[in-house]
């Protein structure tokens, strides 16, 4: 068979548009933001000529920003942990429960993902606000005198973040449990293990990859969440992502904003790597 010369390059044309798009508009911008974080702050322009380490110096010398990174990480940890505790049983039911429930449950877990994040956060402001449904109902029943502080604080942000990211915890755990051969659990039971023991010794360890994926996903998503903390936290509680975006949009401090964004990403990445190492060790043990 005669192979026309263009055949060798033909397939590459298929990937070329995607490769150019990702290379030019994803890789280059990410490199650019690293360079940007070392630029001089500008006077009336987004950045000035020359390079400096000052943006990182400013971050470490101002306790306000360090504190904010710690707060953001803390909110991320709590959100991830609560998602795991709330989500695991649901994931288990979706994977192993009665089939009538399964299709409906699956649809119920997925459908929130189809609703925009602004709308879902807005729903929480209706529920949690001082004049919101929860506070009005409780006041109406005479259970509380004044409104409970459910919004404009870390509590409200965590509640809403758990809601927004719970499906991202449930789905990976569900597919991990689906991948476990049910006969393993049956074997454990037939050898006299109780339901709890069989879960603790068989199902839970084998679903660890799903737990790991879900935790990393939720943690990263909650660190970088902007809409939810900004609508629920208002001006009083700000996470790092909110501070960064506001700093860039309102004050045009591009070099410093880049440094802040990168510091948050690097700290987040460090925790993800540590978490990954810990879970892999646990796996092998």
């Amino acid at each position: 068979m005669i192979v026309p010369p263009r055949k060798r390059f033909g397939p590459l044309l298929l990937i070329a548009p995607a490769a150019i798009l990702l290379g030019v508009f994803l890789v280059l911008p990410y490199l650019n933001i690293v360079v940007m974080s070392f630029r001089m702050p500008g006077q009336g322009t987004p950045y000035g000529p020359g390079f400096t380490l000052g943006n990182y110096g400013k971050f470490f010398s101002d306790f306000f920003y360090v504190q904010q990174v710690i707060n953001t990480l803390w909110i991320g940890f709590l959100t991830t942990f609560i998602c795991l505790v709330l989500g695991y049983p649901v994931a288990w039911q979706l994977a192993r429960g009665a089939s009538t429930f399964r299709a409906l449950g699956y649809a119920l877990v997925l459908s929130p993902l189809l609703v925009g994040i602004v709308i879902r956060s807005y729903g929480w402001t209706i529920l949690l606000g001082n004049n919101g449904i929860i506070n009005r109902t409780l006041t109406g029943w005479g259970l509380i005198d004044g409104p409970l502080p459910l919004m404009y604080n870390a509590l409200g942000i965590i509640i809403a973040l758990v809601h927004v990211f719970l499906p991202f915890m449930i789905l990976p755990i569900m597919s991990a449990i689906q991948g476990i051969d049910p006969s393993l659990e049956a074997a454990a039971r037939s050898l006299g293990a109780s339901k709890v023991t069989s879960f603790r010794r068989i199902t839970l360890p084998l679903s660890l990859p799903g737990i790991q994926a879900g935790c990393i996903l939720v943690f990263v998503l909650s660190l970088s969440a902007y809409v939810t903390p900004s609508l629920i936290g208002g001006l009083r509680v700000k996470t790092m992502a909110v501070t960064v975006v506001d700093a860039l949009i309102d004050t045009f401090q591009w070099p410093f904003g880049s440094a802040l964004a990168l510091m948050l990403s690097v700290t987040g990445a460090i925790f993800v790597v540590i978490f990954g190492r810990l879970t892999v060790m646990k796996w092998k043990a």
Binding site: P11, L12, L14, I15, P17, A18, L21, L22, F25, L26, L28, P29, Y30, N32, I33, M36, P46, L86, G87, P89, V90, Q93, F101, G105, L108, S111, P112, L114, V115, G116, I117, V118, I119, R120, Y122, G123, I126, L127, G129, N131, I133, R136, T137, A160, H163, P167, L171, V220, L223, S224, Y226, L231, V244, V245, L248, W254, G257, S258, A261, S265
Partner: protein, 260 residues
Amino acid sequence: MSKPFFTVYCLIIYAFLLAPIAVVVIASFNAGAFLTFPPQGLSFRWYLVFFNNEVFMRAIRTSLWIATLTMVISGIIGTMAAMFYVTHAGKLKETVRVAMLAPLLLPEVLTAISLLFFVYSVGLGTQNLVGMIVGHVLITLPFVFINVSASMESYDPAWSLAAQSLGAGRFTRFRRIMLPLIKPGVIGGCLFAFIISFDVFTISFMLKGVGMSTLPIQLFDYLRTNFTPEAAAVSTCSIVLTMAVVVISEKVLGLRIHRF
């Protein structure tokens, strides 16, 4: 854990997942000016206010226009990349997959910020839609890729070879053999790209030009200062639109969209 207890627990979680969405829909039919629960009587007045609000209507038109453009561009690029991934990638398969999913794995805020700096650095700016569309295509590309490559897994390359041996050219083979077979994945991926683009916030927020806004941005701006049920009416229309796209694709067209 006993079984009924377990079922009840799961039902509570499902209720938690649906609560804020249900509340928005119910609130949109509220007759009063303040959101209360239960609503003070049923009314469509906030829908009328919304339909007569030119600011929101313009934002919806912008959103639909951007989502349509995004869907077409992302659909073409994503489908081509999926074809390469399934049939030609060879040893590079895993690399291609990770690269194509990268926009989904990287924090959206960071992608949005770096893209904003980049469009200014290269002189594109944000006064045209280029930056915004590029951002939306980046974010939606993984979804097209996932759906199309999933539908191609069952495609046998021998079918293409058979067509080739019968004298069909490259494009004919694609149009007559492959496209009809992978159509469900392509349509599903495109529809999902449309929904994601219609709902995406952070990318649009960073890359919007002065005086331009999409529906989520307009809603966000409105919610910072207002609390009338008009926002609930806007949200409900947006929810109905996306749900309609999903229901039509899954029930009428019989597609199964891969969201993950």
